[in-house]
Symmetry: C2
């Protein structure tokens, strides 16, 4: 019976599309695999056009919509997770207009997790330049009665990609950024107790960021929230609703296909750092960029 | 008489196209303005698809050929300077195949300047990941009887773009990279006396890099060579040949038009850091990326 339904389920369960500008979104896929280990996943990294974080809204929306269409139209995704803070912050409307399946970004789950965490209603958000310039997190916080102070940390992504995960230079850069955002919050009379990691690269620096914020504020004062984890939990809830609680519809073993628009070798090499296990063979796709 | 020829010359002198993946190539344009202050320049920064330095040869060649065609076919460039080390290293053949005008990259002038500088025939080259992986500088050095040790320094570009030009973190990162490349050269029994800046962002860090290499090797032991400067001098020589020494054919005042594929505001803001003077109004162009 289990084998039979497994055979059928692998054919019929919904395909979950996961999109990022690069590899960082694999931290969301990693969390998804813990919540929904038995689903089928198609991941796309738009590595030929990364990073999105330093580009304009218009360009980000165009790239993200093309990527979403590839996952839905060509790979049959029936549920889309935008595992990229920049695309979620600036292009969620463009993506929803480009496809007909449910779309979940990382901003709302991240802000909801911050809301659940904070007692002072004052939160800090660190993210890319474009995410911060959009003020998407501040707006999502405000809708929940919170005050969010945002800080762009453009050096953290290249430091992660250089592999300097637990490195004195990265610690120094984190200290500079976190000191600045804390000062801005304190100058505004706020008393933040929650730090949102608003970029999917940042979870790799979580131990270092937790240590640094504790050194600056005192141990236990500020809790670190990972948007990737919050998004995976929310995606799992919504996908369970899609299959109406029939978990067997999802299949019994995880299936993952990874696509990239450039440098599959680099994806395979760096991707395992984010996913925590080897990403396997990555397929090259041309989105016309 | 001068006014008359100025009027005519501005209509007839050759247009020099300068191409980079981003703003960095403006350091080459800055040097060109010193050598050929009276020419007409059209600069294109492919900012929607930067950085090239972390991407594959295939993708870089496609983007660079499209950019070169824009400068030649749509902007009438009659001489093309590829002011991007990554595109010069990986896409010079693709660019030459895409257009019919003379094309000058930064690798050969940089290697020629290294040849003129070195007494030990041992040189160091720092550049992006893609430029180093292509070994274009090592090959250009070898053709001149030199031995080049190359080192990818992926954090230097984001540090320049963050504006941390003379910053303790940048000094620490430079020290780490330069220590590693010096160790590799010494381990191979070499005695380098020349350091080539193989990326157009690096001239902004020249004082810091000169100070750091002097601290590591002793003052005056290693000379720093700027590919941008060497390329501008060579471009000026070739353009003078094109107009057969008739300088009046070039016009009498510099004319510069700047195009970018994304974020003209960011280009205008960061561009002046590279050009040394305000870049003026930057026009947005869509290359279909």
């Amino acid at each position: 019976m289990r084998n039979e339904s497994a055979g059928t389920a692998n054919q019929t369960g919904p395909v979950i599309g996961v999109f990022d500008s690069g590899f960082g979104g694999l931290t969301v896929l990693k969390a998804l695999l813990q919540h929904l280990p038995q689903a089928r996943y198609v991941f796309l990294g738009d590595t030929a056009r990364l990073p999105y974080g330093s580009k304009s809204r218009r360009t980000i929306a165009k790239y993200a919509a093309e990527s979403a269409q590839f996952l839905v139209r060509e790979q049959g995704a029936e549920f889309l997770v935008i595992a990229c803070n920049t695309a979620s912050a600036l292009a969620i409307d463009a993506i929803e207009a480009a496809v007909t399946v449910p779309v979940l970004g990382v901003i709302e789950p991240g802000a909801a997790a911050a809301h659940a965490s904070t007692a002072t209603k004052n939160v800090l958000v660190i993210a890319t330049e474009a995410t911060v310039a959009s003020h998407a997190y501040a707006a999502a916080c405000q809708r929940r009665g919170l005050h969010g102070v945002e800080k762009a940390c453009p050096l953290l992504v290249p430091l992660v990609e250089e592999g300097w995960i637990d490195h004195p230079v990265t610690a120094e850069v984190a200290k500079i950024y976190l000191t600045e955002v804390l000062k801005e919050a304190h100058d505004a009379g706020q008393n933040p107790d929650t730090l949102v990691l608003g970029c999917t690269h940042y979870p790799l620096l979580r131990p270092l960021l937790e240590r640094t914020i504790n050194e600056l504020t005192g141990a236990g004062v500020v809790r670190v929230i990972d948007s990737a984890e919050a998004t995976a939990a929310e995606a799992a809830r919504q996908v369970q609703q899609l299959v109406r609680g029939d978990a067997s519809a999802l299949g019994h073993v995880p299936q993952i296909r990874c696509f990239a628009t450039d440098s599959v070798e680099k994806f395979e090499r760096l991707g395992s750092r984010f996913l925590g296990v080897p990403v396997g063979r990555v397929e090259l796709v041309d989105l016309g960029g």
